[in-house]
Symmetry: C2
């Protein structure tokens, strides 16, 4: 497992870099998914389960964090190819940082790559990484009011995964209220309530993933 030390991309236009990266990945047949959420929402656990369930697809994972390599180590144990990217204190990934991380990962033979962005509901939504799709996670313990407080993240995401639904009985999260609030911000967002622990709802999410792999 490699660790790559990143720093801010010096570039005229992140949007242009993102479009260039998207075109390059498309021509190579690699689908990049940008996965965003708060710290502790269960991104890595969700990915570990997804990688195990989809073991017929060769999957790579970029773990972006300010420090540590715990997530990349956990991902490799699940059977994914993984690289740990350190963001030099930065709260998000941009397209240049993503391109460098993909270089360190190596995409030969990979069909699907997840960028596990820095845990943060704000800054990552502001930077196009070049991914084909943006997926966000909101976990049951965080509360169903988050679309009201972090609207841009919901507006920029193609998919909302509501995770840790096996703990729903211990919290006051209303899935239908959350779905309505998300749809009000973004009528096209797809919502999948899931539990990576029990497997509930994972089949719908993985069906969506299979639908877009090599299909963009």
């Amino acid at each position: 497992m490699k660790i790559i030390e990143l720093n801010k991309s010096i570039t005229e236009s992140n949007d242009r870099d993102a479009d260039d990266l998207r075109s390059k990945l498309k021509s190579e047949g690699v689908t990049l998914i940008n996965l965003m959420s708060s710290p502790g929402s269960g991104k890595t656990t969700l990915l570990r389960r997804t990688v195990k369930d989809m073991d017929d697809v060769k999957i790579g994972v970029i773990e972006a964090d300010i420090a540590s390599d715990v997530d990349a180590v956990r991902m490799e144990e699940s059977g994914a190819v993984a690289v740990q990217a350190h963001t030099d204190g930065m709260c998000h990934m941009d397209a240049g940082m993503t391109a460098r991380s993909l270089g360190a990962l190596g995409t030969d033979g990979l069909k699907l790559v997840f960028l596990e962005n820095v845990g943060n509901l704000i800054c990552p939504a502001e930077f196009d990484t070049g991914a084909a799709k943006n997926v966000m996670i909101l976990s049951i313990p965080e509360g169903d009011d988050k679309p009201l407080k972090y609207p841009l993240m919901f507006e920029k995401s193609d998919v909302l995964l509501i995770t840790k639904i096996d703990t729903a009985q211990y919290f006051t999260f209303d899935i239908e209220t959350c779905r309505e609030r998300a749809l009000k911000l973004n009528p096209d967002i797809k919502v999948f309530p899931v539990s990576a622990r029990t497997g509930e709802g994972m089949a719908s999410w993985e069906k969506w993933l299979r639908g877009i792999v090599g299909d963009l």
Copy 2:
């Protein structure tokens, strides 16, 4: 309940502005606490319980968010004086923004003011707000590995509140492991495991608060 629209402070030195604000508040006998955490860790619920338990102390709350006024409304219901500060999309509060929010709140007669910073474990740790003390929250569902991944937040905080401990049986969070990891980064950090729902541990936290009110 007022809403104040903020934007970035144009200033030579945030650190100097923060020191100035700290001196001013000290001379006025107002203790400002900067409360930081991820989205959904239970900052508002913790504050509501604290305000109710300490109803002999006049408490003010600044709710900093990118959008919505749900938290300030909830705080006023608990008996605090509250103002909602909108950060114009920004992921943190700086000293100038805090000073303007205090102006909108009005501190006459207040002994204790909480700044509920934007939900984010990264950016708020980088900006001195002028608070007397920094307090961070980590909730049980977020996981005990967060000191490894967001070290600066733990280094900058005087207190770590481990919240939602009433849900500990449903998650794999080890409080002692988390305490050791936090103390390794910051040997002076005080750790209070609490549940705002059941009240467990709240007395120790409130005793610490009473110790610093008017005492700085």
